[in-house]
């Protein structure tokens, strides 16, 4: 039980069954993306459980939760239930994933805390062997764990004889991993831009885990993250991580294989399994980057390899431009590596670049790809594996600087250029990603409602909740959830007239083709309010149809009905207008958005109204002309009166004389 902002006690219940205790945290299971809390299963109160509540602004890996929930027999912590829960302490809702809880004892705490070194045999039999079937199962299902680290592997019993792999779904893939556990390109990337990762990344993390367990703590203790990354680049991962370790010949073999910096040469699950079963494999030789015949000076330091210079240029971004534009970089590549192709590519980029800030940034980004194609995509503060760019956009969306940089890279087509470069991934993946970024650029080009960066955000992140300020805290991930949330907002009075914004439009357009068509038909803002309202109604009617026409949304319908005045005020005929207004009032209270739309979208009435109006306008003009004629003396003008008077006088005279003749005739005859 927790107290909400009003002081009232409220239970946090997921799926009507799992009671979450925010007042009982489990710090041992916290990670960078989520916090852990105790949970009580109402159906089985003795069952030990815990929940990971995602950090606001992040969502769990919704795509793999249903699959993992079925893998109950594997030695890993599997999710049981997941969903958004109203969180009274912070307001809004947080996404919560509930897991079975065994022991809270991890192999190690965080990297800063030393622990007792594990013996080699225990590492093999108590750690590697239990983890292997999990990785095998994951590999078969194309799932990546991306959270293999010492503080996320837990003992299952107090004798510490067996372990289970910790959860991996409470945040974006790999986001909670320290840089030590990541291969070079991911360690160079922002945490938000690591993408889904690969099985090779999991194998690398397993290699680091082995090294950590052998060392009894962080093998790179005392080094900053940047130094760790620089060490991996300069000396290779194996050398930099195991430099201080006394390794037996038996352990050198897997560590060299797992910490190989070339993912294609890295040990696979089969290699590791064979080794764990006693087969001897030839140890991989560490692959170090080619050294230059002479160093290049950049930022007061000397660099002998292309990757190390690329890494430094990515960090010292503003200084990198001079190195590129001065021709120094091209000359270094030509003279020290005899790499004319790269040198010419750099020169071509320099010759075709402008002098503006954006041109300079584009030039550096492109030059870095030429310099080290295996490194992540970089542009100013963005550093991400190319498939992680879309996730990075979602996570960093509220960072305006990031957003602007993202827009710039899309406008310049830099991700597509990166993907054209050899050595930046497999061809099939590159084709899919190129198509995705082309689509993003198209959305960005169109700034109408339902397009723009918002559309790109939701198209690129299918499970990402709608970020509209109206519903951002409600974790609306699916289209079906949108109307119930808006209904709640409308009933609470927090939803005002503006029921659709760029985020809601982008979210809906990304989730449904038919809604996207409705949004595309919206008129340009401030052209015709009635048509705009009608367009919004069409969108909500379509959402209602998708969510199920039998559902009712009385508050939302009433709100939309109240804002529909400009629609029926578009009718000229007041009688028709009154009739529609009454029909809107009647339907507005029933919660049927489809009926409301139907009432307002009476095309026959609209055509009749337009026709009648045209006729009335003509009639008015005719009457006005008549009035004008009369006012100008059409009847009472002296000429007209004189003419008519002459005729009238003659007629009167004729009448009198006829009467006199008749009278005299009568008198004379008598």
């Amino acid at each position: 039980m927790v107290k909400n902002s009003d002081g009232a006690e409220k239970e946090l219940i997921l799926a009507g069954r799992f009671l979450i205790h925010p007042d009982k945290p489990l710090p041992a299971r916290d990670n960078a993306t989520a916090s852990a809390f105790e949970v009580t299963d109402k159906r089985a109160p003795t069952r030990l459980m815990f929940a990971m509540a995602c950090r606001p602004g992040l969502i769990p890996r919704l795509d793999i939760i249903p699959q993992l929930a079925r893998l109950m027999r594997l030695p890993m912590v599997t999710p049981i239930e997941a969903g958004p829960v109203a969180w009274p302490e912070t307001g809004g809702r947080r996404f919560v994933v509930v897991f079975e809880r065994l022991l809270d004892k991890a192999l190690a705490g965080n990297l800063d805390t030393p622990f007792e070194r594990l013996r080699e045999d225990r590492i093999i039999y108590n750690v590697i062997k239990p983890i292997l079937p999990v990785l095998k199962e994951f590999s078969g299902r194309s799932i990546k764990h991306r959270a293999i680290r010492a503080d996320n592997v837990f003992y299952t019993d107090s004798t510490c004889q067996s372990v289970v792999l910790g959860e991996c779904v409470s945040g974006p893939a790999g986001m909670a991993q320290p840089k030590l556990y990541e291969p070079i390109d991911l360690a160079m990337s922002n945490e938000s831009g690591r993408g889904q990762g690969t099985l090779a990344d999991d194998m690398y993390a397993l290699g680091i885990l082995i090294a950590v367990l052998l060392n009894g703590g962080d093998p790179a203790e005392g080094m900053s993250d940047e130094e760790v990354v620089a060490g991996k680049i300069n000396r290779g991962s194996y050398s930099s991580v195991t430099g201080n370790l006394q390794l037996s010949l038996r352990m050198i073999e897997p560590l060299r294989g797992l910490l190989c910096d070339d993912p294609s040469q890295r040990w696979t699950i089969d290699d590791l399994e064979m080794w764990a079963n006693g087969r001897q494999l030839s140890p991989k030789q560490p692959m170090l980057p080619t050294k230059a015949s002479r160093a290049i000076i950049f930022g007061d330091k000397e660099y002998m390899t292309r990757p190390s210079l690329s890494h430094a240029m990515g960090i010292l971004w503003e200084q990198a431009a001079k190195l590129v534009t001065s021709g120094e970089l091209a000359n270094w590549l030509r003279r020290s590596f005899a790499d004319d192709d790269s040198a010419e590519a750099i020169e071509f980029l320099v010759n075709n670049s402008g002098d503006g800030r954006k041109d300079r940034d584009r030039l550096i980004s492109s030059a870095l790809v030429v310099l080290a194609p295996s490194h992540p995509f970089r542009y100013r503060e963005i550093s991400a594996r190319i498939d992680g760019l879309t996730t990075a956009l979602a996570i960093e969306y509220r960072n305006e600087e990031f957003r602007n940089s993202f827009i710039e890279i899309l406008q310049a087509g830099l991700p597509q250029s990166y993907l054209k470069s050899p050595g930046t991934g497999r061809r099939a993946e590159r084709a899919v990603l190129t198509k995705t970024f082309d689509m993003f650029a198209y959305f960005l080009m169109r700034q109408r409602l339902g397009d723009g960066l918002e559309r790109a955000l939701y198209e690129g992140n299918r499970g990402w909740p709608c970020q509209s300020p109206l519903i951002a805290d409600d974790y609306v991930c699916e289209l079906d959830d949108l109307l119930p949330v808006l209904e709640r907002k409308a009933s609470q009075g927090s939803a005002k007239e503006q029921l659709i914004d760029r985020h809601i439009a982008g979210f809906c357009a990304a989730r449904s083709k038919t809604v996207a068509e409705c949004i595309a038909q919206l008129p340009a803002p401030e052209t015709n309010e009635g048509n705009e309202r009608m367009g919004i109604l069409a969108i909500y009617a379509e959402l209602h149809r998708i969510a199920g026409p039998s559902e009712r949304y009385p508050a939302l319908t009433a709100l939309l009905a109240a804002t529909a005045a400009p629609v029926y005020e578009g009718f000229y005929n007041r009688v028709m207008r009154d009739r529609i207004e009454k029909a809107v009032e009647r339907v507005g209270s029933k919660g049927d958005l489809l009926a409301l739309f139907s009432v307002l979208n009476d095309k026959a009435a609209r055509a009749s109204d337009t026709r009648g109006f045209a006729q009335a306008r003509n009639e008015y003009g005719r009457l006005e002309n008549n009035i004008h004629w009369l006012t100008e003396g059409g009847l009472s003008a002296p000429e007209h009166v004189a003419g008519k008077a002459r005729q009238a006088a003659t007629f009167l005279s004729a009448m009198i004389s006829s009467f006199v003749v008749l009278a005299l005739s009568i008198v004379f005859v008598n």
Partner: protein, 169 residues
């Protein structure tokens, strides 16, 4: 010159035709005048106001002349009746000419015709003014009904200003 002459010729032709018709009519009437000489003399003298009106009236259709002539003729009828009763002789005609009542009735009736001709226009003017006002009211009422039904948008742009005048009352 040729053109002017031809125009002059075309203008003269109807005059000549009209003059010819008058001569023919005069010749045909001569026997009637000969038989009804006393009546014609009395009538010619009694219809003098109409003859004057004919020459005074410059309007097309000669409405003044007709109006005065009709009344003038009515004024002459009692005198003519008496003449015929007395045998339509020159003596009876002279007696009638010497009767001031006959002239009073005859010329008074012509004067009545003149009065009719002069008084009808102002009366008709008042009548037409009132009719116009009523029709304008009716038309404005219809316009107001159109505005009630269709809104002020029904007023075409050219008439918008005048429509405001209609709506205000």
């Amino acid at each position: 010159m040729t053109k002017e002459r031809s125009q002059g010729q075309t203008q003269d032709t109807p005059r000549k035709a009209s003059g010819g018709r008058s001569i023919v009519t005069g010749i045909l009437l001569l026997p009637v005048v000969a038989v009804l000489f006393p009546t014609c003399v009395v009538l010619l003298a009694g219809m003098a106001p109409s003859i004057v009106a004919y020459f005074v009236d410059r309007t097309q259709g000669k409405y003044l002349a007709i109006t005065v002539a009709l009344m003038n003729f009515c004024g002459n009828l009692p005198g003519l009746t008496r003449l015929w009763q007395e045998g339509q002789s020159l003596e009876a005609g002279m007696r009638l000419a010497a009767d001031p009542l006959h002239w009073l009735v005859s010329y008074g009736a012509a004067g009545g015709g003149w009065i009719i001709y002069l008084t009808v226009p102002p009366i008709l003017s008042v009548y037409y003014s009132s009719i116009s006002a009523k029709r304008i009211d009716d038309l404005k009422r219809k316009q107001a009904q159109l505005i009630d039904t269709w809104g002020s948008e029904v007023v075409p742009g050219d008439f918008a200003e005048s429509s405001e005048k209609i709506i205000r009352p």
